[in-house]
């Protein structure tokens, strides 16, 4: 093993106090992008070990909802778009919100955050890497659900490419929220509970079209970030989608994503040093 003297590595700093004390050079700081990539890769690899059954459950749940709703909703209609879009985004809510909240809740509860907290890695890299990996886990399930639903309800699949924007942006919003809940919850059980509640809300409020709901429920629906992912995706099943509205909905997802990931990063710092 070779040793590079710490002095020639980037990021070695020393203020005047330290110089006076004869402080040793600090080791390098891990930079944002390489560490984000490393966390992302590590998290993604966990899927192979632990997450595949859960991803299957997430997809199976959404497909089941589609089959169930087929009995009450006519194919090709306005309602069918919401059923298909809602079930697809539900996969993102299940994995991004629910499972990530559980993961961070357990990591915090068991002291696993110490590992990251004693490495010179930017907090945002840990949060974004994990959130990004969980959002990536949802890709196969979301696509399968969308295609299956489109075929089942006779919807056009020509604009399915919009998932390339819906998954990352709804994924950012929901996994950001999941990470924040997991890191803020004082106990792991509470993180699990909040994640489950968030997913249930996305299920109940996302799958049915808004105009069937009472005023108060509709207001709650507007507060849920997954709604905007559902709306954006549902619009693209129409014959002439209004792309400005699609972009508007996705912008809300992006905004919520940035805000919730910022909160999650703050929560990580807070949880790491007690």
């Amino acid at each position: 093993m070779s040793v590079v003297p710490a002095g020639i590595l980037p990021g070695a700093v020393a203020d005047e106090d330290d110089a006076a004390r004869g402080a040793a050079e600090l080791g390098p700081r891990a930079r944002m992008w390489p560490s984000l990539a490393a966390v992302y890769r590590a998290q993604l690899s966990r899927a192979r070990v632990a997450r595949i059954p859960l991803l299957f459950v997430a997809t199976f749940q959404s497909v089941g909802i589609l089959v169930m709703m087929r009995g009450v909703v006519d194919s090709g209609g306005h309602d069918a778009r919401f059923v298909v879009a809602g079930s697809s985004v539900l996969v993102v809510a299940y994995v991004g919100l629910n499972l990530l909240a559980q993961y961070f809740g357990q990591l915090r509860g068991s002291g696993g955050l110490d590992h990251y907290a004693t490495l010179p890695v930017p907090p945002a890299a840990v949060v974004l890497g994990a959130a990004g990996a969980y959002a990536s886990f949802t890709v196969p399930g979301t696509v399968v659900t969308a295609v299956f639903g489109g075929v089942l309800f006779g919807l056009p699949l020509s604009h399915l490419w919009v998932l390339a924007a819906v998954i990352p942006l709804a994924g950012a919003a929901l996994s950001g929220l999941g990470a924040a809940l997991g890191l803020l919850a004082p106990r792991p059980e509470l993180a699990t509970l909040l994640g489950q509640l968030g997913m249930s809300a996305a299920l109940l409020l996302g799958v049915l079209p808004a105009d069937r709901m009472p005023e108060a429920v509709r207001f709650t629906r507007d507060l849920l970030p997954s709604t905007y992912g559902v709306e954006a995706f549902a619009r693209t099943f129409g014959p002439h989608p209004d792309w400005a509205f699609v972009a508007g909905d996705l912008a809300v997802c992006a905004g919520v994503g940035v805000a919730s990931l910022a909160v999650a990063t703050w929560a990580y710092r807070r949880a790491a040093v007690r």
Binding site: A30, A38, S45, V273
Partner: protein, 324 residues
């Protein structure tokens, strides 16, 4: 001086009792701790569970803010700049949950990358460390599929990737077999000889403490009750010998000498442990190895003091110290 700790104090606040849950009074987890760790030494923190070892280490690694006191590591003020700790030291905590679902290889590589190594360096160091610790054959297996000792060794490997001048190891050899333990201490010794690496070791294993430590601080209820070399500490109780008597069934209390010894013995089932002056010990051994008492005796040992005896003599409550 690698690590200088002065007046370090941390109090966990009192917990108010609720229905069904009794309250707990405020606890001084570390109480005015003063330590000096020198370059290149293996410095131990010894004490039973709950003595405050882990709390102390969490404050040294920047994971916990002390209420009062100072921590200086290689000239850096860790209380003021806790984030610098991660760039000076490598920490092996007791929990492996962050790495559990990764393969041994990826756990080591990712940790190296997050310690600021470039991808190629991280891979090269990963390979070298896994080879050094004999983990190459299980490099592709997930940590949680491994036995406790192997998992611990994999976490130790991750702690070694990306050089740091100070290693803080919290009970690194828990659950390890002798081969793995030897690999750990060989790796530590190599780094010490080649680079002057300093090790701060948390342990409650007295045998390990006696064999590997250069100096040891004995902790009891958050206070450092002694700090010296293991030999130096043992000299403090050199005028005592430990006698252990194991009876076949019950002690022959009808023998007056044995009945007299009982008052000074710590009884654990059939086993009596006595700490006696050398001539008293000689007399006690003569009594039990001859005459009526001998028939009831299963085994006896006579030993010079161990760190455990030191701990007892210093007034610590020895429950929780492990001899293995």
């Amino acid at each position: 001086m690698v690590c200088a700790v002065r007046g370090l104090t941390k109090t966990y606040p009192a917990v108010r009792g609720r229905r069904g849950v009794p309250g707990a009074p405020a606890v001084r987890a570390t109480d005015d701790v003063r330590l000096d760790v020198r370059r290149g030494e293996i410095f131990g923190l010894l004490g039973p569970n709950g003595a405050g070892k882990s709390t102390l280490v969490r404050q040294l690694t920047g994971l916990m803010r002390p209420d009062a006191g100072s921590v200086e590591i290689l000239g850096h003020d860790i209380v003021r700049h806790p984030e610098r700790a991660s760039r000076i030291l490598a920490y092996l905590g007791q929990e492996s949950t962050a790495l559990d679902e990764l393969t041994v290889s990826l756990a080591a590589e990712t940790t190296g990358r997050l310690r600021g190594l470039e991808a190629r360096r991280a891979r090269a160091e990963r390979d070298a460390v896994l080879e050094e610790l004999g983990l190459t054959s299980i490099a592709g297996r997930a940590l949680k599929k491994l036995s406790g000792g192997q998992r611990r060794l994999a976490c130790f490997a991750a702690a070694l990737v990306g050089e740091r001048p100070l290693l803080v190891l919290d009970e690194p050899t828990t659950g390890m077999d002798p081969v793995a333990r030897r690999a750990v201490w060989a790796a530590v010794d190599r780094r010490r000889a080649e680079r002057g690496t300093t090790v701060l070791l948390v342990t409650h294993n007295v045998i390990e403490a006696e064999t590997v430590l250069d100096r040891v601080a004995v902790l009891d209820q958050g206070r450092v009750i002694a700090c010296d070399t293991p030999t130096g500490l043992k000299e403090r109780v050199a005028d005592e010998v430990r006698v252990e008597l194991v009876w076949r069934e019950t002690a022959p209390l009808h023998v007056p000498e044995v009945a007299a010894l009982r008052e000074r013995a710590v009884e654990a089932g059939r086993r009596w442990t006595l700490r006696l002056a050398p001539e008293e010990a000689r007399a006690a051994v003569a009594t039990v190895t001859g005459g009526a008492a001998f028939a009831a005796l299963d085994d006896f040992t006579l030993a010079t003091p161990s760190l455990e005896d030191v701990y007892l003599a210093l007034g610590g409550a020895a429950r929780g110290l492990v001899k293995a």
